[in-house]
Each structure stands twice: as structure tokens, then as C-alpha cells.
């Protein structure tokens, strides 16, 4: 195989790859396009393929009306990250390195927990929160959203921490460090990448959640952005430019995380499915 032939083939593949990617991302482009379209042009047939005459009215509406919802979602995401890390990281340590008795059964339970449909959890949480008075509270929503991330987090931490060299832990013990010191000053710093992956997913899932928000928090004073978009669609069926502008803004965290942490994203997707 000559060098010339392989470059030519690669060139052909790049063109095809770009075309396929563009097709795949067309809905995302369309969302952005509609968000810049003037309201009268929304009813045009055929629609404008490109916002030649863009309007920022949609984005003005977002700034005007959606800032509280965006703030709520941010707090929700960060709260969910904190709760998930606090619960999952020590548990991963116990499962991977401290030979927890019954660890296999616990692992099994976590796998099963991931299979339970959110709509069922939502009903159970509704009944529990109804009697505890936690309906329509941010705390209640943070806890409910974290149930998506905690089993994933524990499994990911366990898988990673099991690979930490025993010599490292042995050395810490020789230096007189107890299990707590070892956890704080050896295991956690070494697991930084896993913590990033878990945090990233916990944040994204909480940020994107609609089921729990629309059931446990539907009459709350503080509603997250997903629920806000949904209510907005219900109330303003004609203002699709504003709806799409909100959607674009709601997608920003995903875009930022993709740019900053692409390898952690891929790592997380794979960790859930394939164990090496």
C-alpha cells in the first residue's frame, strides 16, 4: 500500500465523515436557526434555511424570563454533584479496597437499581414527599435527581479504585495512615479523573431531568429550566423562536462540557456498559 493511495482514501473518508456529521447535527442547527428567526417569518413556507435577518428577541425573552430557572438548574446540578460524590466515593473505596462484606451483592443491587424506570421512582417519591412535606422543594428534587447518578457513580469509582496499585496503599499504611487518611490523601487525589467523570454526568443528568421536575416540583416557586421550557411551550405555542432560544441556552452546559471534557464523557458512557 503506497502512501499516496492511503491519503487519497483518508481524504474521501473525511469528506463523507463531515457530511454524515452535518446530517446528524441538522436538528441542532435547526434549533439555533429558529431561535434567530423573526416571529412573522416562523410561519413562512418554505422556512428560512439561514437566519439572514436575525433577531435577538428570543434571547432577550430568555434573559427577561428564564434567569431564575437557569439559576435553579445550576443549584440543582451542583447539589446533585455534591450529594453523589459524598455518597458514591466512600462507597467505591469500601467496595474496591476495603473488602466490604457482601460487596458482590451490593454491586448487584446497584446494577439492578439502574434499571428501575424513573417514572416509577417518581411515583414512589411523590408518595413519600407528600407525607414528609418535601414536594415542591429544591432539596427534594436534588435527592430524587441524584438517584440517577449514585449507582453509576459507585460502580465507576469501584471499577477505578480497584485498579489503584496496592503498593501505594501499603506505603501509606507503613507511614501510619489509617483508612480515613489513606482515603483523603491517597485514594481521592489519585481518583481525580473518576471524580470528574462522575461529577460531569451527575450535573448533566440533573440539569436535563424532566420527569422528576415535572412530578415532584411542578408547583414549586423555583422550577428548573427543563420544566420552564415545557411550561413555555404550553403557554406560547406561537413563540417558537423564544422556545428555541431557551433550548439553545439550556444546551450551553452540555456544549461546554463536551468541549472541555470530551474524553471523560466517552469514558463515562463506556464505563456503564463494558467492563475491561
Amino acid at each position: 500500500m503506497t502512501a499516496g493511495r492511503s491519503t487519497r482514501r483518508a481524504w474521501w473518508k473525511t469528506v463523507l465523515g463531515v457530511l454524515v456529521t452535518l446530517a446528524m447535527l441538522f436538528p441542532v442547527y435547526w434549533m439555533v436557526n429558529v431561535s434567530f428567526t423573526r416571529t412573522p417569518d416562523l410561519r413562512r413556507r418554505p422556512p428560512n434555511w439561514f437566519p439572514w435577518d436575525p433577531t435577538f428577541d428570543g434571547y432577550a425573552a430568555v434573559l427577561d424570563q428564564q434567569l431564575p430557572a437557569l439559576g435553579t438548574s445550576l443549584v440543582l446540578g451542583l447539589g446533585c454533584v455534591a450529594l453523589t460524590l459524598v455518597v458514591a466515593a466512600p462507597a467505591g473505596y469500601a467496595l474496591a479496597l476495603l473488602n466490604l462484606r457482601g460487596g458482590r451483592s451490593l454491586n448487584f443491587l446497584l446494577l439492578v437499581a439502574q434499571m428501575i424506570p424513573a417514572v416509577v421512582m417518581a411515583m414512589g417519591f411523590y408518595a413519600v414527599y407528600n407525607s414528609l412535606g418535601l414536594l415542591n422543594t429544591l432539596w427534594g428534587l436534588i435527592i430524587a435527581d441524584s438517584t440517577i447518578a449514585v449507582p453509576f457513580g459507585v460502580l465507576l469509582f469501584t471499577a477505578f479504585m480497584a485498579g489503584i496499585p496496592r503498593e501505594l496503599l501499603q506505603a501509606a499504611r507503613v507511614d501510619g495512615a489509617g483508612t480515613w487518611r489513606t482515603f483523603i490523601s491517597i485514594v481521592l487525589p489519585v481518583s481525580r479523573n473518576s471524580m470528574l467523570t462522575v461529577s460531569l454526568f451527575a450535573f448533566l443528568w440533573a440539569w436535563s431531568d424532566f420527569i422528576f421536575a415535572s412530578t415532584l416540583n411542578r408547583n414549586g416557586d423555583l422550577i428548573p429550566i427543563t420544566l420552564s421550557i415545557y411550561n413555555y411551550i404550553g403557554n406560547n405555542t406561537t413563540q417558537w423562536n423564544a422556545i428555541m432560544a431557551t433550548a439553545v441556552v439550556a444546551s450551553v452546559p452540555a456544549a461546554v462540557l463536551l468541549v472541555m471534557a470530551q474524553r471523560y464523557v466517552a469514558a463515562g458512557v463506556t464505563a456503564g456498559a463494558v467492563k475491561d
Binding site: L25, V128, V150
Partner: protein, 320 residues
């Protein structure tokens, strides 16, 4: 899972502590430490998983009306809610819709994901960037993607109908007619699931050694032949896991369908998950008890496939 795999060596290592008594007390202490570190998770699982699930079972065997919910005096009705659910007209529709939506989604997602994974297997210019961009649909909040699809498929002003008309076709009421609504939500869901399939299958392909392909091409096997006799057979374990996980995820989908069609028109897109959501939260008068019964049925279906998945994965680990 390395610690369990190396039992013969591990048995040797365990003898290492200097004095047996010190070793025993230390192991005791570390056992308690393990429980201590796992304690937050154990409490969490009991309070935020087991208890809500238990309440859900309780909902399904009582007759909870809104009034009974507030006063806490719901009547015990045994399996009456389940009988009602199984006898309902919605049940067969929801079951068929769930099957069509789920299998339609995962099969097409898998085929497209596999084709893309094979395409991206060879590194070419921009391949990593393009593969990263393919993750975008999967990272967007579902409500964002679902409302974008709803607008694209809008009967009067949607881009899809505009293109159809431009090519001489007729407008189709994608979301609002019972014939095409299920197809529409399935297409949107396929789009959402492609990234997941691509990432997992792509990482599975990385584990197939290059020399197998080299040997095959020396023997004169073309790309098509190589795909059928190397890629597909060697990828079978990963494929099985991808399909089963996709199945479990797709069974519980609510957001996409609810935002696009709310289960309509006339129940055309009502899956089991949508049915449960609709009964409990979708109407002015919540019917928690039948909803919980549907939900528990959904759990049973998900767990059946879940156990198949765990068995497969277990067998794969044992053989590797």
C-alpha cells in the same frame, strides 16, 4: 474486578501480616472501616430507593384517591388495580406501542451505530473531532431535542414537510395523525440513541486486533467479507450488551414522547411508561393506584431483560 479474579495469589498475600493476632484485629478494624465508608450508600439505598419503591407497591395494592392521599386512609384492594390494568383497553395498545417503539428504536440505533463505528474505526483526518460531535444529541437535555423535533415535524411550518413539498410530496401530519405519530417519536428517539451505540461499539472495535484484518486481507477478503467474518462475530458480546442496555433504557423513556405527543393522538404513542406517567401526573385527577400497578409491571419487564443482561455479562467475564 481484578481482586476476585486472582484468588490463588490473593490467598498467599493474605498470610503476609507479621503476627497472626495483629493481623486479625487489623482485619477486624478494616472490616468496620469498610462498613463505615459504605454506610452513607447503605442508608441512601434504603431511604431513597427501597422506601419509595415500597411505597409504590403499597400504592398499587390500595385504592388511593386524592382525598385518601391527603388523609392517609386508602382502602386495601389487593390485586384489583392489577386486574383493572390488565383488563383495560389501553393495556394491549400500550404493550404493542412499547414493543414497536423499543425494538424499532434499538434495532435501527444499533445498525446505524455499528455502521458509524466501523466507519470511524480507521483514523482519518478530523475523525476524532467528528466522533466527538456525534455525542452532541446525547448530551442535550431531552426536552430540548424533543421540542426541536416537534417543531421540525410540525404539519404547517415544519422543515420536514417543506422538504417533502419541495420534492413534490404531500404534507404529512407527522405528530398529529395516529398513523405516523409513533413513527415520529421513534425516529426522534433513534436520533437520540445513536451516540450511545456509536461510543460503545467503537470501543468494542478497538479490542479487535489489527492483524486479524491484515491476515484476512492477505487472504483476499474484501471489506464486506471482513465485516461479516471478523467484525460481527468478534463484536457479538459487546453487541449483545449494547442491545440489552438500549432495551432497558428505551423501555423507560417518558420525556421524548411526552413532550412531542403526550401519548396521543388517541393513545397512538402511549407506551407503558407514558401510560403510568399519564395516569399519575398527566391529568387533572391523578389515579396513583393504577399508575403504580403499571409502573410495577414495567419494573418486572425491565428486570427480566436486566437479568438476561447481567447473565450475559457474567458469562463474558468468565470466558475472558
Amino acid at each position: 474486578m481484578t481482586s476476585t479474579a486472582t484468588t490463588p495469589v490473593g490467598a498467599d498475600v493474605r498470610r503476609r501480616p507479621t503476627s497472626p493476632r495483629l493481623g486479625a484485629s487489623r482485619r477486624d478494624a478494616s472490616r468496620w472501616a469498610a462498613v463505615g465508608f459504605a454506610a452513607p450508600l447503605l442508608v441512601y439505598l434504603v431511604v431513597f430507593y427501597a422506601y419509595p419503591l415500597w411505597r409504590n407497591i403499597e400504592l398499587s395494592i390500595h385504592d388511593y384517591t386524592v382525598r385518601a392521599f391527603v388523609q392517609g386512609d386508602a382502602e386495601f384492594v389487593g390485586f384489583a388495580n392489577y386486574v383493572e390494568v390488565f383488563g383495560s383497553d389501553t393495556f394491549p395498545t400500550a404493550l404493542v406501542n412499547t414493543a414497536v417503539f423499543t425494538f424499532g428504536s434499538i434495532i435501527v440505533q444499533f445498525v446505524l451505530g455499528l455502521a458509524l463505528a466501523v466507519f470511524f474505526r480507521a483514523n482519518f483526518r478530523l475523525s476524532n473531532l467528528l466522533r466527538a460531535l456525534f455525542l452532541v444529541p446525547w448530551l442535550l437535555p431531552l426536552i430540548v431535542s424533543a421540542s426541536t423535533w416537534a417543531w421540525m415535524l410540525n404539519s404547517d411550518n415544519g422543515i420536514v414537510n417543506s422538504v417533502l413539498v419541495a420534492f413534490g410530496g404531500d404534507r404529512i401530519n407527522w405528530i398529529t395523525s395516529p398513523e405516523t405519530a409513533l413513527l415520529s417519536v421513534t425516529v426522534a428517539n433513534i436520533w437520540l440513541g445513536i451516540p450511545f451505540n456509536l461510543v460503545i461499539l467503537h470501543s468494542g472495535l478497538q479490542n479487535i486486533p489489527d492483524d486479524m484484518y491484515e491476515a484476512a486481507s492477505l487472504d483476499g477478503a474484501g471489506p464486506w467479507r471482513q465485516f461479516w467474518s471478523i467484525t460481527l462475530p468478534l463484536l457479538r458480546p459487546v453487541s449483545a450488551i449494547t442491545l440489552l442496555l438500549g432495551l432497558i433504557y428505551t423501555l423507560k423513556v417518558v420525556d421524548v414522547i411526552w413532550v412531542m405527543t403526550a401519548g396521543g393522538p388517541a393513545g397512538a404513542t402511549t407506551t407503558l411508561a407514558i401510560w403510568a406517567y399519564h395516569e399519575a401526573f398527566g391529568t387533572g385527577i391523578p389515579a396513583f393506584s393504577p399508575a403504580a400497578a403499571v409502573g410495577n409491571l414495567l419494573i418486572v419487564i425491565a428486570l427480566i431483560f436486566g437479568f438476561v443482561h447481567l447473565r450475559l455479562q457474567h458469562r463474558q467475564e468468565a470466558s475472558s
